[in-house]
């Protein structure tokens, strides 16, 4: 989780990732940010994120991202 927040902070340092649950819905992240973050996640956790995982619900909060990473790590 901390590593994830670190990655997120590198993109948007001003966001409070502990509480924010509308990263996509509130347009805090645009598609550039998402692609950057996904790239970092794939390198960091050695997972494969594909287009089918690219739905807002997976990226709206740090918690959701962590959940996505956990699921993909198990596969």
């Amino acid at each position: 989780m901390d590593r994830i927040i670190e990655i997120l902070k590198a993109v948007h340092p001003e966001v409070d990732y502990e509480t924010e649950t509308g990263l996509i819905d509130k347009r805090i992240f645009d598609s550039f940010d998402v692609v950057t973050i996904v790239g970092e996640l794939m390198d960091e956790f050695d997972i494969e994120i594909t287009a089918e995982h690219m739905i807002p619900e997976n990226f709206n909060s740090a918690e959701a991202i962590a959940e996505l990473v956990r699921t993909l790590e198990e596969e």
Binding site: V35, V38, E52
Partner: protein
């Protein structure tokens, strides 16, 4: 039948009556029949195209899901007998077969779209090439067909569904006729919004209860859409096209006014039409996705494209941009760049390469002529520049001790975005790329000769029409401003009833009297002296 017509109004009234007269569980059938009746109005031969799309997508979705069911059953049977590696390999095999089905579906449908859209322009280019290079005048004849109503929109919507099924985002619609309704739902089939199956399916199929408040709310939205379309857009259309047609004679400020007017026209036209579509759908209890979010208040071009024609933008993002940027090849390319110590480039490759692709396609989507591709590429360049120059612009702002959230800064950024986008629309209102550049160069000439009377007298925008247009644009601007703080309709409905009546009366009055429609009135023709 246009969405902006008396016929359509009557059609909707009739459909509403029947819709609420039948039991709830049959209401979706009314929508299906209405949708096909509406579509058939545009020419019964068009039904073939939408039927092909519906049937092919239905079959592909069926096959994709069947493969998945087979897989699930197989894995369930095997249970623990199968190793993790075997399981993975088996899954990958199934995925591959699913992918083949998907690709077949995509190729067929986008193939039809591409053929209908680009066949004639391709023939034109081939003819031109043969003429200039070989001097051949035995031209290939043009194909004789019209684009079926809304084919770009329903093809995108249906293919989005198919891709979602492939991704397993939701289960397929098993009832063929229900699925046919999703493809053809009449308010959105003409010009969008392009909605997702998950967004509207249950609303389409469950049937809505009668709710007067919702009818009223939908009616307001329709009237507001008509206001934007009839009072603003249609009034300015003649002026814009005439100014562009005679741009040699009207340079400088005329061109600037025409560019501004075109921005108002296209926004009024498109967002007004969408308001009508959404308002009609609302009357049937269906909430279609929003397509515009006050785009002219955007502070950057990339933000603008998240607020203008939203459903097309998200379609390209979800089905082109993300899949491409997560494509193994592109990711590899990025990694190689980073390994070569080109970190900055490595980071940008997975973003800019797909984006270039998306913008080329977006350009082609808007029209078959090359000027639209150029338009798309300009958007791409502007977005890249905007992103790359952001740190610099932030520095300058800081140096000048300006605050980004200040009104002046926000207005400056919104203004800049507005005019950049407006100038790009020169590609839209000129015949070709060269013409668009000529028009752009005219912006900087002949400012000394401006005489507003020439607009009144020679450019289809008499003074009184211009005044009406100007007032209407100001009203539209104010309404958009209020909308920043939440739904305007909700605010109106909170007012005392007589005030609500005044608002509605004024809106209906504005549309019916100041709408720009019909044959016009020429008092002289009513004089019997000419008998």
């Amino acid at each position: 039948m246009s969405l902006i017509s008396i016929d359509f109004a009557l059609f909707v009234c009739l459909a509403l009556l029947i819709y609420f007269a039948v039991p709830k569980k049959f209401r979706w059938i009314v929508l299906l029949v209405a949708s096909y009746a509406f579509y058939a109005q545009s020419g019964t031969e068009n039904l073939i195209y939408i039927a092909v799309t519906t049937v092919s997508a239905y079959i592909c979705a069926f096959l994709i899901e069947k493969k998945k069911e087979g897989m699930d059953a197989y894995l369930h049977d095997k249970g623990a007998d199968i190793s993790k590696e075997e399981k993975k390999a088996y899954k990958a095999g199934v995925k591959k077969r699913q992918k083949l089905i998907l690709i077949a579906g995509l190729l067929l449908n986008f193939g039809i779209l591409a053929y209908l859209k680009y066949a004639n322009i391709t023939i034109a280019y081939i003819n031109l090439f043969r003429l200039t290079h070989y001097g051949r005048t035995d031209f290939i004849p043009f194909r004789d067909f019209l684009l079926p109503l809304g084919i770009s929109f329903y093809t995108f919507q249906t293919m989005g569904y198919l891709i979602d099924i492939y991704y397993g985002k939701y289960g397929r619609e098993r009832n063929f006729f229900k699925f046919a309704l999703y493809v053809s739902f009449f308010p959105q089939v003409v010009q969008g919004p392009i909605s997702r199956f998950g967004q509207i399916a249950s609303q389409l199929y469950e049937g809505a209860d009668f709710d007067f408040a919702r009818l009223k709310s939908g009616f307001y939205r329709i009237m507001w859409g008509l206001f934007k379309k009839l009072v603003i857009a249609d009034r300015l259309a003649g002026f814009v096209s005439e100014t562009m047609a005679q741009k040699d004679a009207y340079r400088g400020f005329y061109i600037v006014i025409a560019i501004f007017a075109y921005s108002m026209q296209i926004y009024g036209d498109f967002s007004g039409g969408i308001d009508v579509a959404l308002g009609v759908a609302e009357m049937f209890g269906i909430k279609l996705p929003e397509n515009f979010e006050r785009p002219f208040f955007s502070k950057s071009i990339s933000e603008y494209w998240q607020r203008w024609h939203i459903t097309l933008g998200t379609w390209f993002k979800d089905y082109i941009f993300y899949p491409l940027s997560l494509n193994k090849g592109i990711i590899k390319l990025g990694r190689i760049a980073r390994e070569q110590k080109m970190t900055a480039l490595g980071k940008r490759i997975p973003i800019y390469v797909p984006m270039l692709f998306v913008w080329t396609l977006t350009g082609m989507w808007h029209g078959s002529e090359s000027r639209y591709v150029v338009w798309g590429l300009f958007n791409f360049v502007f977005i890249v520049l905007g992103t790359e120059l952001e740190p610099l612009s932030k520095k300058i702002t800081a140096k000048l001790t300006l605050v980004e959230s200040d009104f002046v800064m926000r207005a400056y950024r919104a203004g800049k975005t507005f005019w950049l986008m407006s100038f790009l629309r020169l590609f839209d209102i000129n015949r070709d790329v060269k013409d668009a550049f000529t028009a752009f160069s005219y912006v900087f000439q002949g400012w000394g000769h401006f005489d507003i009377n020439r607009i009144f007298e020679n450019l289809s925008l008499p003074m009184e029409e211009m005044i009406v247009a100007a007032i209407a644009i100001v009203i539209m601007f104010i309404v958009d401003l209020i909308q920043r703080r939440g739904s305007v309709r909700a605010k109106i409905f909170a007012l005392p009833v007589p005030v609500q009546w005044c608002f509605l009366s004024l809106l209906v009055l504005a549309v019916s009297v100041f709408g720009y429609y019909g044959p016009g009135f020429d008092a002289a023709s009513f004089i019997y002296g000419a008998f």
